[in-house]
Amino acid sequence: MIRVVLPAHLRTLARVDGEVELQIEGQVTQRSVLDAIEARYPMLRGTIRDHVTQRRRPFLRFFACGQDLSHELPDAPLPDAVASGAEPFFVVGAIAGG
């Protein structure tokens, strides 16, 4: 079970409260987590990563286990604690704007 914490606006769009829990077959990576989120919540496609390039939107970052994983390769394995569900994967919006 993978746990994902989404920013408030994306929880509203997906109509969920609190953490999202996902089952992922195979290796747990940024790409497999985002694929699973978008499959479960198609309304979030394009809001975390670009529809075409699949690159992370510039004002979003990925964190887990106290580390900034934003610049890791999308197919790099996420920490074991994320893969086991002990720690959540955070999608975080930059603090900017008014």
Partner: protein, 389 residues
């Protein structure tokens, strides 16, 4: 008894304001999509309870919302949760927020004149078809025209506009390179006018396949060739549906008029205190009665002398009168954006506009007097009004 429904898009959500035909007492619902920029909402002329909204964010990108009940409830018209996101043959399904340029988008001019790649940023304006609730046109930044024919589930670019030949010379205005105005000609179903800052007006007569610039007569001293075929910062154009070959324009500077469906333009600024501004609109029953909101200058985006004045011409331009009753006449420094003025079609024509200070003003007597419907919304980006039976 008839009713009116005002749709206000703001920096922090959408608001729906409703009243009976007296337009004195208003119910306010919202914010819908709280915290998001709502660039525009508009109802379908063919089904007034079908509304579309452009919801945008610098963080999360573009969302399209649709309502089938006049704004009480909303949905994203894309794939439902739990439905497969691919087609049976394995192709990704289109999504309601997926605006992808047709082919290699190429480059346009950046502010400094250098080539800059076309990049989708947001939908500025949604224009539902006059006849089909599931068909909607979307004007986007960087400037292009998209269309959906399935109620917003998928969007396709009408790329003949961007690719007609002058696209590489288009340049962003201060607000970005936006396609902000879409006028559908009720008497020529295949004729569409659009306007882009800063490229100008374009017209298609074949439902979007081919386009021509329609900027003859525009003169813009702030561009290298003041009489260029494209490059003019057109802020807004408007038409009366009974006379669609007559167009009115608020340009960056200058208020203009065309009597030949955009083939040529003449200045009609007349006695306006300043001819800079953003919105322009036409009275619902008097095709020669038009409204603008003069703004001091391109560097001082507020009314001259701190007095918020709508100007009305009953002669299709040249001669203008200030409409001030009920509007602040001192210390007012708000702006009125290009999509933030609308008229209803009740017998006594109502005129509405929203300000960057969060007021939405209404006049139930064609502008003779005004009163705020609301005073303290977030900055208003757009105002539309529906006249309901």
């Amino acid at each position: 008894m008839s009713r009116v429904r005002v749709l206000a898009g703001t920096r922090k959500g959408a608001f729906v304001l409703t009243s009976d035909a007296k337009r004195e007492r208003w119910e306010v619902s919202g914010p819908h999509f709280a915290g998001w920029e709502i660039y525009h909402l508009k109802g379908s002329p063919a089904d007034p309870n079908r509304l579309y909204a452009s919801q945008t964010s610098g963080w999360f990108g573009q969302i399209i919302q649709r309502s089938n009940d006049g704004g009480k409830t909303w949905e994203q018209p894309g794939t439902k949760p739990g439905e497969p996101t691919t087609t049976p043959d394995g192709m990704p399904k289109g999504e309601s927020n997926k605006f992808v340029y047709d082919g290699d988008p190429g480059t346009h001019q950046w502010y400094d004149g250098t080539p800059h790649p076309w990049e989708f940023k947001r939908v500025w304006h949604l224009e539902p078809s006059l006849t089909d609730p599931d068909t909607v046109y979307a004007g986007v930044e960087d400037a292009a025209l998209f269309r959906t024919v399935d109620g917003g589930r998928t969007w396709q670019e009408l790329s003949g506009l961007r690719g007609h030949g002058s696209g590489s010379r288009w340049q962003p205005g201060a607000g970005g390179m936006c396609l902000h105005t879409i006028l559908l000609d009720p008497s020529h179903p295949e004729r569409i006018f659009i306007a882009i800052s800063a490229a100008g007006v374009f017209r298609t007569d074949d439902a979007g396949k081919t386009w021509r610039p329609m900027n003859r007569g525009l003169r813009s001293e702030y561009i290298p060739d003041p009489n260029a075929e494209v490059g003019h910062c057109v802020h807004r154009i408007a038409m009366h549906r009974s006379r669609p070959s007559v167009l009115f324009m608020q340009k960056h500077w200058d208020v203009m008029r065309s009597d030949d469906a955009g083939e040529s333009w003449q200045e009609v600024s007349g006695n306006l205190p300043t001819d800079f501004g953003f919105p322009i609109d036409v009275h619902a029953h008097e095709p020669d009665t038009i409204y603008v909101v003069p703004i001091k200058s391109d560097s001082e985006h507020y009314p001259p002398d701190g007095k918020l004045r709508v100007y009305r011409s009953r002669t299709g331009g040249h001669e203008w009168e200030a409409l001030t009753k009920g509007l602040p006449q001192s210390n007012c420094y708000v702006n009125v954006f290009r999509d933030a003025m609308a008229v209803d079609s009740l017998d006594s024509c109502g005129v509405y506009f929203g300000t960057t200070g969060g007021q939405v003003y209404a006049s139930a007597n064609a502008g003779d007097s005004w009163a705020p419907i609301v005073r303290d919304l977030p900055a208003v980006l757009s105002v539309e009004v529906q006249t309901l039976p």
